[in-house]
Symmetry: C2
Subunit: 421 residues, 2 copies
């Protein structure tokens, strides 16, 4: 790695910190850093390779209270924190004793990404994509999105003073549409599902070379942002790895990058290596990865999504095969749950820990329950659940299930009667 | 203070950290710490008095990343962080150069409380109220609310494993209703406006001695939580006070407590004292404090609220007279803006800084603009705007103003046509 890295560093015109080149995931072909996402050698996805050098815990701890404290582990310029960005990250890691008790396990931690600037983990990946895109000379930030990404891209572009082009399925939840539109970029509703919108974005990326589609042409950089979930979790646990992690699967990128993050922490000596299992969570209205896992297949059979967990409704998940690799290698599992269980998961989390998650969070909690009930998740091992988005964005999912106990006149008698006390 | 404090400390049965007694705001009558809110001597509100002792910056900086880092300045038990609570605070202080440029001023900072657990500053006051209520032996957390407080109380009670009784006007925004209900406490919709609901809560507090109404019978403790906005702002500025602050006014409590926070930082030597001006912001559909300020009156004339800024729609603001005192003493001013300006404020903030605030945030931004345009706010002095709640909770305010630029077929031609490029 070092020799190749030095060669590349000499010729590369970009400052992307420790990133030295792109490597194809299948056959390991190397190429210089650039806004490209597929290897023309083996047609597999490109991933960022690094020359990390010496990284010390103290330097990270002395850094900003955002993902930029990990800039020496990310493909971003060394002065990244000096440019306007949404500066996400450093969200809470909540010890969830009430939930653990309800599920009959020893210890659960919740990585609560509802506290990010636009209230989902997407702020992490978009912040990294914006930083890399700026270095590459782009001026427009774009994406196809199931909603959370749209919010994050539109907000980050506004803060940076960039134009944005955001494409969403026309059926998207009202909250996500309005929250994407309010930042005043170019929001387009597209007739079709997410896979249609994604295909359109890939075509547009070919036609508009000045548009940085965060999850298309700058995807190798973008996806590295998910590693910060792993970095923060380890640092917040006192610089150690958890034993079990449950991660929702949309494209599958987040799950594989959490694994990559744990590996890099170990490789750089920031944590002592220790075994961990990564579990995947899907809704069974869109569970192509869970299906492949359960049937022992290596290939993903695309599906037409039909679930209330719309932020996970990717029927042809790009990183599905890598998710299968990661989960099998670490000894985890992948499950899926019904929409009813998703709602139960949202309500269980809210009732026990006071955290209101979006449907993706319900998927994670419900799958954790199922994995425990079926003996796939060790109740005596410590488990981290990734709560990646906010309940305010998916109110439709709960509106028929929760509400006021009663509507009363403004008198104490009316209150006593309504509450039976 | 010290002598009285020692006497009180000896006899008081409660551990509320540096808090030693309650003092009436009008005539300074003292009484022991208890869940009481009005002085029976002069019928004025009770406020917490302290014996702070020596507090060092290093101890605060070494504390948790939540309001509990300031526990030695709050009426909470010394082991407060060991009990389940939502642990809010340490939200971002964002340097808003784009907004400053748009408004024609030198430097603006945004205290962005949308990052709190339930996405408003109310998590701060509720966390302190819960901690004090626990020490007093309560087991039920209750409130009347315009919405944000309902969310915060219901979430905090769930996390603590307490029952909650939350009373909201039946006209409340859907998002705030659902977000209050999901935590599975006792949510009641009340036929009436906030002032009716508030009156009902005061009656109920008299009947149910085991209910801690956070903003009624434990209000003296609750309201101290707003000081943490001042503490964090000063610490995030590098342990100094800002020159100008713009604060939205509902009951008026937050504004007066930010002033109290700055005073306490100065008094304890944590910052060097320096002059600052506090400005108040209202919507003109509910502007009784702005009216009194502009007319040079000391008394507040209650109004019947009619504004989209429902979280500020308190027609008879309890702390109104104290707001007038604070603003006049510091050399600030109080303005009010139209509902149209509120929406413009929300959109301006989103477009320039990528932050989506609720109507209260729109009120703050729009008033800042008005205060600048009318020469009341010094464009060369540094200004902090308090962004106290989240746009996802008040979508109705923007829904007729923002949306997709177009709905298109999934083709590149359709996109080009829609965007004109």
């Amino acid at each position: 790695m070092t020799a190749a890295a030095q060669t590349t560093t000499t010729t590369a015109p970009y400052d992307l910190g420790p990133a030295v080149e792109l490597v194809s995931k299948e056959e390991g072909h190397r190429q210089p850093l650039a806004p490209e996402f597929v290897s023309l050698e083996d047609f597999s996805p490109l991933e960022v390779a690094y020359d990390f050098g010496k990284i010390r815990r103290e330097d990270i701890e002395a850094g900003p209270r955002s993902i930029w404290r990990y800039k020496h582990l990310l493909p971003v310029p060394s002065n990244v924190e000096q440019h306007p960005n949404t500066d996400p990250g450093c969200t809470r890691l909540v010890r969830a004793d009430n939930l653990a008790k309800a599920l009959g396990v020893k210890r659960i931690w919740l990585k609560d990404d509802t506290g990010n600037p636009t209230h989902s983990f997407k702020d992490r990946v978009v912040a990294v994509a914006l930083a890399a895109a700026r270095e590459f000379g782009f001026k427009v930030l774009a994406c196809p999105s199931t909603g959370n990404l749209a919010n994050a891209v539109a907000a980050a572009a506004a803060r940076a003073g960039w134009d944005s082009v955001v494409l969403v399925p026309s059926s998207l939840e009202r909250a996500k549409v309005l929250m994407s539109a309010v930042y005043d970029g170019s929001l387009l509703a597209v007739d079709g599902n997410y896979d249609d919108v994604n295909r359109l974005a890939t075509e547009l990326a070919g036609e508009h070379e000045d548009w940085a589609f965060v999850n298309v042409n700058v995807r190798p950089y973008y996806s590295e942002g998910s590693k910060t979930l792993a970095f923060e979790t380890a640092e917040q646990l006192g610089w150690r790895l958890p034993e079990q992690v449950v991660v929702p699967i949309a494209s599958g990128s987040q799950l594989t990058k959490i694994d990559k993050g744990f590996n890099e922490l170990t490789r750089t000596g920031l944590v002592e290596g220790s075994p961990y299992k990564i579990f995947g969570a899907q809704a069974n209205g869109c569970s192509p990865v869970a299906e492949a896992f359960k049937n022992g297949r290596d290939m993903i059979q695309p599906v037409r999504p039909d679930t209330i967990a719309r932020s996970l409704a990717i029927g042809a998940p790009a990183d599905g095969p890598y998710v299968l690799d990661t989960v099998r290698r670490t000894g985890g599992a992948i499950e899926d749950v019904t929409d009813e269980e998703v709602v139960d998961g949202i309500r269980l989390l809210a009732r026990t820990e006071g955290i209101f998650a979006e449907t993706a969070g319900g998927v994670t909690v419900a799958n954790a329950k199922k994995l425990i009930d079926t003996g796939q998740l060790d109740p005596d091992a410590e488990t981290v659940l990734m709560i990646t988005g906010d309940g305010l964005k998916t109110l439709d999912a709960v509106q028929d299930h929760v509400g006021p106990k009663a509507t009363v006149k403004p008198t104490t008698d009316a209150v006593s009667e309504a509450l039976g006390k």
